[in-house]
């Protein structure tokens, strides 16, 4: 229920910001329409486009049309004939006249590939380094790991991305033809190979965060009374760490992981821009900069769906991992 309310609010706010803000900033609907006319915006063409896109209608009517499209589908004229866009219909791009939803579904696998691959790397690397660091607190390993992690969270991902491209792609020529995205279904090997750099770059940033987080959680848990009790009972260290400490420390990690992944699935904007990956993130930037409102709506809604969905999953996982939690 909360999730649905969330989606409604987000869609309304998005609609308001993108459709109403330009008008508040002093632009007329003629000017709005003119940007979709092409290179020869005659007065008639502008009027026609305005009518076709319904830009003159009040905001509520436009929003209503959008919502109606989502539930019942919508008809669009492509000129000589009328096309039906079946529910859930997110409308047609103002720029390319392509239906929004298929475009999103077309871009989603790229972002999915990026996010899932990178998250696996950072989860494994970040958490294990964090645990090791906590267990060997104060050692050279701990200091080195934490210094690297601190550097990791201080580096912008587009900078590490550019540096890694400069080094591995253009100097060592490990990818002589560049790192363009290749479909998993066409060639899984090439898909993975070409995604290595984006994965590692993105994972580096997050692994750093996770290592720091895991370490501090772990240290805190190790200081708790029940761990001391367990140790005093003479349980082997392996059991104390593996069964008790780890479990308690990992619960917050799970939460954050879910939310991070949810956010990323909506589009890893900077990473996609840096590596020119044709995912949802680069689609969203492109749509915003070109004023393609229906496409912007689509991406934002999809991103929100991911976030809401991720936090739902997190809640469920949380209950599984931490027996103290009851879903309220």
């Amino acid at each position: 229920m909360g999730a649905v309310v969330m989606l409604v609010i987000v869609s309304m706010v998005t609609f308001g910001i993108f459709f109403q803000l330009p008008k508040l900033a002093g632009q007329t609907t003629d000017q709005l329409a003119a940007s979709y006319v092409g290179k020869a915006p005659t007065a008639e063409a502008i009027a026609d486009v305005k009518e076709r896109l319904g830009l003159d209608d009040p905001l509520a009517v436009q929003y209503g049309r959008f919502v109606k499209g989502v539930f019942t589908g919508q008809d669009f004229s492509n000129g000589p004939s009328v096309e039906h866009c079946a529910a859930p219909c997110l409308g047609y791009s103002f720029r390319t006249n392509e239906p929004v939803l298929p475009t999103l579904l077309d871009r989603a696998p790229v972002t999915l590939s990026l996010a899932v691959g990178a998250s696996l790397i950072w989860l494994v690397a970040g958490v294990s380094i964090g645990i090791l660091s906590a267990l060997r607190r104060g050692t050279v390993f701990d200091r080195m790991a934490m210094a690297t992690a601190l550097a990791g969270v201080s580096l912008p991902v587009y900078f590490t991305g550019l540096v890694s491209m400069a080094v591995f792609v253009y100097t060592f020529r490990l990818w002589p033809n560049g790192v363009a995205y290749s479909d998993f279904t066409e060639n899984p090997g090439l898909w993975a190979w070409n995604l290595v750099l984006p994965w590692v770059t993105l994972a580096f940033l997050y692994a750093a965060t996770y290592a720091r987080l895991t370490r501090s959680q772990m240290l805190e848990t190790l200081g708790e009374d029940y761990i001391r009790t367990a140790r005093a009972k003479g349980l082997p260290e392996r059991t104390v760490i593996g069964k008790h400490a780890l479990r308690a420390s990992l619960t917050p990690i799970v939460t954050i992981f879910g939310l991070d992944l949810g956010l990323l699935l909506g589009g890893a904007v900077l990473t996609e821009q840096t590596f020119s990956l044709p995912g949802l993130g680069s689609l969203s930037i492109h749509s915003i900069l070109s004023g393609d409102l229906p496409m912007v709506m689509g991406v934002v809604l999809l991103a929100t769906v991911f976030i809401v969905f991720a936090s739902l999953i997190v809640d469920i996982l949380y209950a599984v991992v931490d027996p103290r939690v009851r879903l309220g």
Partner: protein
């Protein structure tokens, strides 16, 4: 004689050669050919002439089409590429230099025949030319293509010259999607299957240039599905589109119904053609150099990363610095104080350091040659002159100060300059202008806007410029066809000023210039027209509201295994795609 002069001499050639490729530009006698790859070789000759068929020609580009639909596209590369699958009434000649600016008949048997004082233009179609579905192409299909591309609400991508010049129906024609009456636009007549007649509302001597636009490529009414036609285009050329995955790729294979005997223009050498879209420019350049790709479709020149690699090494012999027919310039709005005083405009003309601007735009190779006239050298009507000379083109501060004093602003003044904020080179040029005008005491505020809105809301809105005191605007302009009229009219004719989407950014409205434009449309003699264009150019520079910066040049790369490579000046310095083949 009431026709384009060069066209007339060529028409004879086309008739004599009927069915052969002699007029296509590959004949040894014209332009010259060479098989030695050298820097700029394809600028002056057809490189690696060959008739060898077969293979796959691989294109790529860093963006997507506006639309591959011939009736809905405005990019020059698209007009070039569309000739693989769309034959127009006439097209340009496959030849280097000025010869490549000539028009030759394509779907029509001859160039247009003018009558009624250049107000009626008649074309006779070749007989027996077929669509890729096997049906014969008729004059009706051409008429329909013009109607859909110029009169419907849906197809807004292309130019609207036909709508502007053709006599409209009484009450206004709403296009074939709304107006289903069989007569359609009454000013296009098709007296028989192979004849099409255009009736214009004004004399227009250069109508053949409209007939070259992809909008005259025939479209069968029954197969037209408007905005979606781009995904199932019915081909009239030697190749048909097997698949077009928007934003990703296109694949073409031979059109079995295309008959070389009906097509004197195209060699149609490769068996298949592929296009990869939205690729990284750096990757495209690297693949071109390594042989993994044959051609950059967008023809914008190699990227900044590849430029030193191409020019600094052995690859240089495989490249051409192609002159485009585009001008990068800055307009000065005479309605905005203090530019209402011509001396203040002239001060700007003198003060700008054009070498610095050229370097900011990419240097002499990709930034272009320093300009002193509105018309680029590759456009008909160009004459060389410089009304505001300075030593080494680096600006003349003394003269600028003189003009400022005359203008009553001896200590300079403040003004604003708009530019497209998402075009790095234009930003750099604007910053460079700000710097050099600053030395003369002219303080420039930079106003960057997104390019998508530049013409609709900002620089292209005369009211916006005036209300916000924006005295200057950055601009780049290329002609839709390489004549003075095609280049100048949209940017200097006072009657083309529009409240939005304006391209006459200086809001130039001089009666003298307007009259000259009118005279040129009635003038049948091409040489005389050419003189008129030069006169307009002169008047404009005298008026000082256009500051020419550079004539565009782009560094094009051609892999060594390509045949029949030639730079076409007609399309502003692109390789002519139709005859490309593989060794």
């Amino acid at each position: 004689m009431n026709k384009i002069k060069i066209g007339a001499s060529l028409a004879a050639c086309a008739v004599l050669a009927a069915g052969l490729t002699a007029c296509g530009g590959d004949s040894e006698s014209s332009g010259g050919t060479t098989s030695t790859a050298a820097y700029n070789a394809a600028n002056t000759s057809v490189l690696n002439p060959s008739d060898k068929q077969g293979g796959e020609l691989r294109f790529a580009m860093s963006s997507d089409w506006d639309s591959p639909d011939p009736g809905d596209t405005y990019y020059a590369f698209s007009w070039n590429f569309s000739r693989y699958y769309a034959r127009t009434l006439v097209t340009f000649k496959n030849a280097p230099g000025a010869e490549g600016q000539q028009l030759v008949p394509d779907l029509a048997e001859d160039l247009g025949k003018a009558s009624n004082n250049n107000k009626t233009w008649t074309y006779k179609l070749r007989e027996g030319v077929k669509f890729s579905d096997g049906s014969e192409i008729t004059a009706q299909d051409v008429k329909y293509a013009v109607e859909r591309s110029n009169f419907t609400d849906e197809l807004q991508g292309g130019p609207k010259y036909f709508a502007q010049y053709l006599v409209d129906n009484a009450g206004g024609y709403k296009g074939p999607y709304k107006d289903k009456a069989p007569a359609g636009l009454k000013s296009i007549k098709t007296p028989d299957k192979y004849t099409i007649v255009f009736n214009l509302n004004t004399p227009f001597a250069e109508f053949d240039y409209l007939a070259y636009m992809p909008q005259t490529a025939p479209v069968p009414r029954a197969k037209d599905n408007g905005l979606n036609y781009k995904k199932n285009i019915v081909s009239s050329g030697p190749y048909q589109i097997d698949s077009y995955d928007v934003g990703k790729s296109m694949k073409l294979s031979r059109n079995p119904h295309w008959d070389a005997a009906t097509d004197p223009v195209r060699k149609a050498l490769p068996d298949t053609i592929s296009v990869a879209l939205n690729q990284e420019q750096d990757d495209i350049d690297n693949k071109l150099m390594s042989g993994a790709l044959d051609m950059d479709l967008a023809a914008g020149g190699v990227g900044p990363a590849a430029q030193p690699k191409v020019l600094g090494g052995t690859q240089k012999a495989n490249s051409d610095a192609a002159s485009g027919s585009a001008l990068t310039y800055m307009t000065i709005d005479g309605r905005v104080a203090p530019f209402d005083n011509i001396a203040c405009r002239r001060a700007v003309q003198y003060a700008i350091d054009k070498v610095s601007v050229q370097t900011s735009l990419g240097g002499p190779i990709s930034g272009g040659d320093i300009a002193s006239t509105v018309l680029p050298p590759t456009v008909v009507g160009h004459e060389e002159f410089n009304k505001y000379p300075s030593a080494g083109n680096a600006g003349d501060l003394a003269k600028a100060k003189e003009q400022l004093t005359e203008c009553g602003k001896p200590n300079g003044f403040a003004t604003k300059l708009t530019y497209r904020a998402d075009r790095p080179k234009e930003v750099a040029a604007a910053e460079s202008i700000q710097q050099s005008l600053g030395k003369a005491g002219i303080k420039v505020d930079l106003k960057g806007y997104p390019s998508g809105d530049y013409f609709t809301k900002y620089a292209g809105s005369p009211a916006f410029l005036k209300d916000n005191g924006v005295g200057m605007a950055m601009m780049k302009w290329a002609a839709d066809w390489p004549s003075g009229f095609g280049f100048l009219q949209q940017i200097l004719d006072g009657r083309t000023i529009k409240p939005t989407g304006n391209t006459n950014l200086s809001s130039t409205d001089l009666p003298k210039i307007n009259k000259l434009f009118d005279r040129s449309t009635k003038e049948g003699d091409a040489d005389a027209r050419s003189k008129i264009y030069a006169q307009i150019d002169n008047l404009s520079m005298e008026n000082a509201d256009v500051v020419p910066l550079t004539y565009s040049v782009q560094l094009l790369y051609r892999p060594a295994n390509l045949t029949n490579v030639v730079v076409s000046e007609f399309l502003g310095g692109q390789y002519d795609y139709v005859n490309l083949g593989l060794k």
